[in-house]
């Protein structure tokens, strides 16, 4: 199922867009999506300043936060807040990087 979703979204976002999904390749060799290659001695040297700013984006990725605001036995009503459609709504607000 994941690969089906991946292949559909790749077609619609990467292939069918205006080609701006991934930022331009540096020196025709290294792009943002080639992370394993980028974080090597030759990758860093050949990527101009790409490796410098990619650190900040990798570091700031933390995944989702799920938290109980109170702990222990709860008697009576309690509320469980959830955001319906949070991921697609956030994705709809994205745009291609300049």
């Amino acid at each position: 199922m994941s690969s089906l979703a991946s292949s559909f979204l790749t077609k619609e976002l990467v292939n069918q867009g205006d080609g701006s999904y991934h930022p331009k390749t540096q020196n025709g060799l290294i792009s943002v999506k080639d992370l394993p290659k980028l974080m090597t001695p030759s990758g860093i040297e050949l990527s101009n300043d790409l490796h410098e700013y990619i650190d900040y984006f990798l570091g700031s990725y933390h995944g989702g936060r799920n938290e109980s605001y109170l702990y222990g036995v709860v008697k009576g009503e309690f509320y469980d807040y959830d955001l319906p459609g949070a991921y697609p709504t956030a994705m709809a607000m994205l745009d291609y990087p300049d």
Binding site: G85, A92, L94, Y96, D98
Partner: protein, 230 residues
């Protein structure tokens, strides 16, 4: 690249709108007032634990920075990057192709759809709590509340990002089917999977591989990008 400066200087220089409509990542030192009960800035303790303390040093996105400033946090920026969204007026969308829905292209979806239609003949359809039109209006209102409609109009025509178009098409297609049905859940899954696919393989996590009966580092896909994931 962003040099060292205080959080308030950075906020007044860039403005909230620029920080939200861009890919921003910062390294900061921060201190929330003790009156803040739930600080929003994550700090890693080790490879598996993240806490949200009142003071610390961390990496964060532009959105997290704006929220922390609203909570009265004192921030010192140590470094960072801003990549703005593409200039909207430069990208007229007249020739953009209409999304072709997947059931017209993927045999697997056609098969699922056929099975779903067959199942309707034998099993009584589950009654959704809300009618499809009520659901649609609710979700449409949610999208409108994001402000995308009003903020993306150019002088000549209304702008739609490719992301917005894809999400909207998936939402509309999903709502053609009753809640809880195969197709409704499938479109919901595809829409939700997008963000996960953008972050796939970033943290080099290992997954069990049934073919080799061993664990392997999860490979990244075509959609992966640290910019979109953050």
């Amino acid at each position: 690249m962003i040099g060292k400066m205080t959080g308030s200087d950075f906020l007044s220089k860039e403005g909230v709108n620029n920080l939200i409509s861009s890919y921003t990542a910062l390294k900061i030192q921060f201190e929330f007032p003790t009156s803040v009960r739930f600080p929003n800035l994550p700090v890693r303790l080790d490879f598996s634990s993240i806490i949200f303390p009142l003071t610390g040093e961390t990496f964060c996105t532009g959105h997290e920075f704006v929220l922390a400033m609203k909570l009265g946090c004192k921030i010192e920026i140590l470094g960072g990057v801003i990549i703005p969204f593409v200039e909207r007026t430069q990208k007229p969308q007249k020739n953009r192709k209409k999304i072709t829905m997947i059931e017209k292209r993927e045999p697997l979806i056609e098969e699922l759809h056929r099975k779903y239609l067959e199942s309707l003949k034998t099993i009584p359809e589950r009654t959704p709590k809300k009618s499809t039109s009520e659901n649609y209006l609710f979700l449409k209102k949610q999208l409108e509340n994001t402000g995308i409609d009003s903020s993306m109009k150019s002088e000549q025509e209304e702008y739609r990002t490719q992301f917005f178009t894809v999400v909207k098409s998936l939402l509309e297609e999903r709502l053609k089917y009753p809640k809880g049905s195969y197709m409704n859940l499938l479109y919901k899954f595809i829409a939700n999977a997008g963000i996960g696919q953008m972050a796939r393989g970033l943290n080099q996590k290992k997954r069990y591989d049934t073919q080799t009966n061993s664990t392997k580092v999860m490979p990244s896909g075509e959609l992966v990008s640290p910019l979109y994931a953050g």
